[in-house]
């Protein structure tokens, strides 16, 4: 079924002379295209799906959400194409700074413009109870010029945290987030930490067929795509390196994590990812543990490497 954007429907509603109800009218009964109280509406059969609160979506699109470049210029410097609606995957073994990077990006987004932030709202979906609000508060306090309670609280008011316990709950939550995203046009960033938390549980409960094991994740990917594309959010999702790589590196050398990546999540998800970042840690320096990330743009196949350290105030790029 072809999906028709809301504007096209409005056009047809204005030109239509039939008096039949449209499935995309919000429950208040007011017509969107300036029509009178629910009388002049149009049946748009070619792909009408239920879309509540169209007005908000229009607004969101018109207002324009911040470009990815502004969120972290170090990482996304070369992204000249429009990056709204992009899904970026953070991949890496434990302790390599994926969650820290989320805090860094969140801090950047919720800080007020006067302090160098973007003053936009962030939605954080936490699937493995890893979210440490106190650490985020420490980072915010260090970055604010006056680290007062009030300032921190104002920043935190722009953050929303959801915890999901099972993959079905994640699916239902992603579905119900549409209304939240709709009613908050300042919401710009969706963080999912982490998508692979239910991997083993799903595999065991799905029976023998791989397809039924992956079905929940497939539907979650669909919903994520819908949220990203229609509401022009930037989606950052973390996946853990759960699988043993076949490659044996030289003793002590970390090697290239990117070259030995083994995708294990469902194909739907692999298809959605636009940019994949591989995190790794180098312990060989005696002073500071250095972290590095290699970002790979999946369409253009370009690779870029960044190095950073983690301090009290979060991530600092080198």
């Amino acid at each position: 079924m072809q999906f028709q954007p809301c504007d096209a429907r409005q056009e047809r509603a204005r030109n239509c002379t039939d008096d039949i109800t449209c499935s995309c009218v919000p429950s208040t009964g007011q017509g969107i295209g300036g029509g009178s109280q629910g009388t002049h509406l149009c049946r748009c059969r070619a792909g009408a799906k239920d879309r509540p609160e169209h007005r908000c979506r229009l607004l969101a699109r018109l207002e324009g959400r911040s470009s990815l470049k502004e969120i972290e210029p170090n990482l996304f410097a070369d992204e000249d194409s429009s990056v709204h609606g992009d899904i970026i995957e953070f991949h890496g073994p434990e302790g390599t700074g994926k969650t820290e990077m989320f805090y860094h990006v969140t801090a950047r987004c919720v800080l007020p413009k006067s302090e160098g932030g973007l003053e936009v709202e962030v939605l954080f979906i936490d699937t493995d109870y890893h979210f440490d609000l106190l650490r985020l508060v420490t980072i915010l306090e260090r970055r604010l010029s006056r680290g007062s309670e009030e300032a921190v609280r104002q920043c935190l008011a722009r953050l929303f945290v959801v915890s999901c316990g099972t993959s079905s709950q994640l699916l239902l939550t992603l579905c119900s987030l549409e209304t939240t995203v709709c009613s908050r046009p300042a919401l710009c960033l969706l963080i999912l930490d982490s998508l692979s938390a239910f991997y083993w549980t799903d595999r065991a409960s799905g029976g023998e067929s791989v397809s039924s094991q992956e079905s929940t994740l497939r539907t979650c990917s669909r919903f994520l795509e819908r949220l990203a594309v229609e509401y022009r959010l930037v989606v950052l999702a973390a996946t853990q390196s759960l699988m043993q790589t076949a490659w044996q590196g030289p003793a002590g050398g970390p090697g290239e994590p990117e070259a030995h990546y083994r995708p294990y999540l469902c194909r739907e998800w692999q298809r959605l990812v636009k940019l994949r970042m591989f995190f790794s840690k180098q312990d060989d320096l005696k002073t500071d543990t250095q972290f590095s990330l290699v970002s790979r743009h999946l369409k253009s196949n370009s690779l870029k490497k960044h190095v950073f350290v983690i301090g009290e105030s979060g991530i600092e790029f080198r």
Binding site: L134, L172, W200, R203, R222, Q244
Partner: protein, 317 residues
């Protein structure tokens, strides 16, 4: 979760359930991910009724987003930092065990100390059979000569035995139920020690079994939800194994488990002294707050400095 049945939510009648079931929609997830127009046509149900039903089900079953500021207020009052009593260990843990988190560490001394100095209840889940009351008494005797205090501290330690994973899951469930029914008691459970998680999980791992890993992740989830929802500090022990390829020492239970604890401290024998001395070298290998790589000397024979203030009550922030 959520097989559709009559009365699950307002508006879901038995007829509706039957009609949906006849079209292959049996669970909440099926209904939410289905195309409602198609379903309305095939089942002969009203489209608007289906939309309303979906809305209600989503409101009922999906997780609710909390505002960061409210969450912060709540955390400030509910999080505690519990000192382990061993100064060097506290330094590695950034002042102590945080409630709401899972920490991997050695635990016999920790439980005895928390029971004594912080007047809190400790639940010790023993799956090794390695806990002996005489050893606990010995540790407490090193701490205080007063017998009444020793007895009091011993009373605050509750020992439960669970020798396979299902028993352990049961124990954790019971604990949750018991704590949630405990209204305003003088001292509540603040630390849950699981010794050791390897003993119950490693028989399940290996080979082609998927169920083993799934059970391990389920245990991990139970521990984490216990820590978060009930507000206790969960401490687990793990063994060390050698990496098959590189020969280096690493924590057991593999990669998937390594993501579970928020903090990990490895204890290693100090070179030259052997296990007879009480001294161990503790390395911080994973922490959400401190840079890793710190190491401290820890004396697990008599736990470190006795002048660690026993009045360091947890409620920080």
């Amino acid at each position: 979760m959520g097989v559709l049945r009559a009365g699950l939510c307002p508006g879901l009648t038995q007829d509706t359930v039957q009609l949906l079931r006849s079209r292959g929609i049996k669970t909440v997830v099926d209904l939410v991910s289905a195309d409602l127009e198609e379903v309305a046509q095939k089942c002969g149900l009203s489209y608007k009724a289906l939309v309303a039903l979906r809305r209600v089900l989503l409101a009922q079953f999906s997780a609710f987003p909390f505002n960061g500021a409210d969450l912060y207020e709540e955390l400030k009052t509910s999080t505690s930092i519990l000192s382990t009593g061993i100064g060097s260990l506290d330094k590695l843990l950034d002042a102590g065990l945080y409630t709401g988190e899972v920490t991997e560490i050695v635990c016999l001394c920790v439980s005895a100390n928390v029971a004594y100095s912080l007047q809190q209840n400790v639940v010790y889940i023993d799956s090794n059979g390695g806990l002996t009351a005489s050893r606990l008494l010995q540790l407490l005797q090193a701490r205080t000569p007063d017998e009444e205090e020793q007895a009091g501290a011993l009373q605050r330690i509750q020992v439960v035995r669970a020798f396979d994973i299902f028993q352990m899951l049961d124990v954790l469930q019971d604990l949750r139920g018991a704590v949630s029914q405990q209204v305003s008691s003088a001292s509540t459970v603040k630390v849950v020690v699981v010794d050791s998680v390897t003993a119950v999980v490693s028989p399940l791992l290996g080979g082609q079994q998927r169920e083993g890993l799934a059970l391990m992740m389920q245990l991990a989830r139970e521990l984490k939800t216990l820590a978060r929802d009930v507000g206790v500090a969960v401490v687990v022990t793990n063994h060390m194994t050698r990496d098959r390829d590189s020969g280096k020492l690493k924590p057991a239970l593999g990669r998937s488990w390594s993501f579970v604890p928020s903090t990990r401290i490895l204890l290693d024998i100090e070179e030259g002294t052997g296990t007879s001395g009480g001294r161990r070298r503790a390395y911080l290998t994973k922490s959400p707050r401190l840079p890793t790589g710190f190491q401290e000397m820890v004396d697990i024979g008599t736990w470190g400095t006795p002048e660690q203030s026993p009045a360091s009550q947890g409620d920080q922030m």
